[in-house]
């Protein structure tokens, strides 16, 4: 049984014309040249200055000339290896296939048994990893939810441990925003990889850093970036611009700003580490103009932003993560199905190399194991759909059509029995008759999803780490725990 189902999304739809994309690129260059970005790390600022970048030490500002930007972007490789503990799950990011990732990183989840909303724990994260390990729709994992029950100072390492023990698929160590955390993560990954050289050759973890919109890179994020890059770990750049709040009140303006932020991150990386593997991660959205709520700000604009950002990444020939899903609904209702399906559908014709989705509600404030399953269903549907169908005469069954003739039926034909199971079969869509459904107590798709979750959790066993490695990892984690400064 295949461990990972990736999609071969061959369609190329474009929400924006090539001319518009070009204009966005030019506008980006303009901003980076004249406004620049805030660089919160003195060390990085100095290294940039040493590399010839126009730096203002008073303001912590770096400004990049257009030719410089173009030159650095060209250094980024257009694909890279994201390795996994199980070699069968290695991913060629940017190699032409699309992989679904779990989403992240809420602090709450819906309890599987009580249905109540509660804080997430390290064990919850590990369980989700087990689900991800079992579901072929998942290609790689994020830190899907926060391990709130462990100390803050080494939390990302606890989270990495949960991921390493929960799954043998590739791990994106995304919620590491400090040098301290990055060092710890690298130590752990090096242990599992076997050596520093092995980790560099086969990065078992990747990372991305998030911009503080607008146009600001914080110290911890940049220092984490350099630490990961030093170890050969691919580092992506992400932004979560909020139109009307941290970005202008227009699709064009938000896309330009987001692009400028991500490009600036990549330029900084390629300046300091020429040729280092990187990827483009854009999650722009908007606030609701009335209340300021981020969870309510979903609409067609988000889809347009999603598409435009994907086109920009393609223009730069850099691997891209498309943010899919992220519904603002609080439960798996019509709104959740709609929002996530539309986002995923667009992502199937404006494909990302990674589709980051699977599992969140309420704009990534609540995680749900049921949603994880349901989002995987959507991905599976799209994979099937875009595989296409054979139209040969034999497959069409022309002979049978002649045999059956007008006014008859095909129920008893051999051809029917031979092919009827080619049709897609949903896991969670409800198909039974109305009467049957009422009799069974009106079950919902999320009920079916919950059953599947329980089934997997009670039967699936992740391939364990080699003997003794768990204890070694725990020692590293303990070593990175800092005394609470405020006690």
């Amino acid at each position: 049984m295949e461990r990972i189902r990736s999609a071969n999304f061959k369609q190329r739809y474009e929400v924006a014309s090539p001319e518009t994309i070009e204009k966005i690129h030019q506008a980006t260059l303009h901003i980076l040249e004249h406004t620049g970005v805030h660089v919160g790390s003195e060390r990085v600022l100095k290294r940039l200055a040493d590399s010839g970048v126009n730096v203002d030490f008073q303001e912590n500002r770096a400004r990049f000339a257009p030719e410089f930007v173009e030159a650095k972007l060209a250094l980024a490789p257009n694909h890279f290896l994201a390795a996994a503990r199980d070699g069968r799950c290695d991913l060629d990011i940017g190699g032409g296939r699309s992989y679904l990732a779990t989403d992240g990183c809420p602090a709450d989840m819906y309890d599987l048994d009580t249905g109540e909303r509660r804080r997430t724990t390290k064990e919850d994260l590990r369980k989700l990893m087990v689900l991800a390990d079992a579901m072929p729709e998942i290609g790689l994992v994020w830190t899907a939810m926060a391990a709130n029950d462990v100390p803050i100072s080494n939390r990302p390492l606890h989270e990495l441990y949960a991921k390493l023990t929960g799954t043998t698929k590739h791990i994106q160590q995304n919620s590491t925003f400090s040098e301290h955390g990055a060092r710890g993560a690298i130590e752990m990954a090096t242990l599992v990889a076997g050596s520093a050289e092995e980790l560099r050759k086969r990065p078992l973890i990747t990372n991305f850093q998030v911009c503080l919109s607008p146009l600001s890179w914080e110290e911890g994020h940049l220092d984490a970036m350099t630490t990961f890059a030093d170890a050969g770990v691919p580092v992506g750049f992400c932004c979560m611009d909020l139109a009307m709040a941290s970005a202008p009140a227009s699709v064009a303006g938000t896309v330009v700003l987001a692009n400028a932020e991500i490009v600036s991150g990549m330029v900084i990386l390629e300046t300091l580490y020429p040729g280092h593997a990187t990827f483009y991660v854009a999650f722009p959205t908007s606030i609701d103009a009335r209340d300021g709520n981020m969870e309510a700000g979903w609409g067609p604009e988000e889809l347009l932003m999603q598409g435009a950002c994907q086109q920009l990444a393609r223009r730069y020939r850099i691997p891209v993560t498309v943010g899919v899903g992220g519904t603002g609904a609080k439960v798996q209702n019509w709104q959740a199905g709609l929002q996530n399906a539309l986002s995923a559908f667009l992502a199937s014709i404006q494909p990302g190399d990674i589709l980051s989705d699977a599992g969140t509600l309420y704009s990534s404030l609540i995680y749900s194991f049921e949603s994880f399953m349901l989002d995987a269903e959507i991905f599976g549907l799209l994979c099937d759909m875009w595989e296409g169908y054979d139209f040969s005469a034999e497959t069409a069954g022309l002979a049978d059509i002649g045999e059956v003739g007008p006014g008859n039926h095909f129920l008893g034909q051999q051809h029917t029995r031979d092919h009827m199971h080619d049709f897609w079969m949903p896991k969670f869509f409800n198909r039974v008759t109305w009467e049957d459904w009422r009799e069974k107590g009106r079950p919902t798709p999320q009920d079916a999803a919950r059953e599947k979750v329980r089934e997997i959790l009670s039967t699936h066993e992740t391939e364990p780490l080699p003997d003794g490695m768990e204890q070694e990892l725990q020692k590293i984690i303990a070593a990175y725990e800092l005394a609470d400064e405020d006690d």
């Binding site: 602090a107 503080l212 209340d291 405020d486």
Partner: protein, 217 residues
């Protein structure tokens, strides 16, 4: 010089549509003409913001407009305050201190809350982002606010809200203020756990909560 009524209307109009130059010019003129600064602040500026708040409730204006007006209010306040201090007038309004906690640079939520609070007539001091605990303590001692509001966006910084509450207790200040908390990872459960007095998930709801806590209608 235009008459007082005209100037006051100019301040009001300027605040309602966030016309900074108009509002500040008129405010300056009023102050220079010797009009009672308490009157300017409460009967002119604060009233305008409250009217704006009513318009927001009716769906006639939206949050970005409220924020813009709040910015202008700050500018007008900067003109009136020196006159207030010089007159030795103690403000009778409800005072609020707002901040984003230490280690956290996200302040959109805080900004929105500050703006909405002003429309309800609260006097808001914004300490900014990445606010060290000591700075909050110092501000509490100086301003003697009725409410201390803290925002945090990350699960890794939200713990600072608890630290601040503990420190307030240690300094013997806890009982003299109402503490409100907010931000993406904050829930009622968290607020209860750290023994905050109030929690609100959005800017408009923060105003309601603040009114409830201070007994302001």
């Amino acid at each position: 010089m235009a008459d007082q009524q005209e100037l006051e209307q100019a301040v009001k109009d300027g605040l309602m549509v966030a016309n900074g130059p108009q509002a500040t010019e008129a405010t300056t003129a009023l102050v220079e003409a010797g009009v009672d600064p308490k009157h300017i602040l409460e009967k002119v500026m604060a009233n305008a913001m409250m009217e704006l708040g009513e318009k927001w409730k009716r769906g006639e204006v939206f949050l970005p407009e409220v924020v813009a007006s709040a910015e202008v209010f700050k500018q007008c306040n900067a003109i009136v305050e020196p006159a207030l201090l010089a007159a030795g007038t103690k403000e009778a309004g409800v005072r609020v201190i707002m901040c984003t906690v230490k280690g956290d640079l996200h302040d959109l939520g805080k900004n929105m809350v500050c703006a909405m609070m002003r429309t309800a007539g609260f006097e808001v001091t914004d300490l900014g982002k990445d606010t060290p605990t000591q700075k909050i303590i110092d501000a509490v001692k100086e301003i003697q606010p009725h409410i201390v509001g803290m925002s945090a966006l990350l699960t890794t910084t939200v713990g600072q809200q608890q630290v601040v509450i503990k420190t307030l207790k240690k300094e013997g200040l806890r009982d003299s203020v109402h503490v409100m908390v907010g931000g993406a990872p904050v829930t009622q459960e968290w607020a209860d756990e750290i023994k905050a007095d109030g929690y609100a998930p959005s800017a408009p709801e923060a105003v309601n909560k603040a009114k409830e806590l201070t007994g302001k209608a």
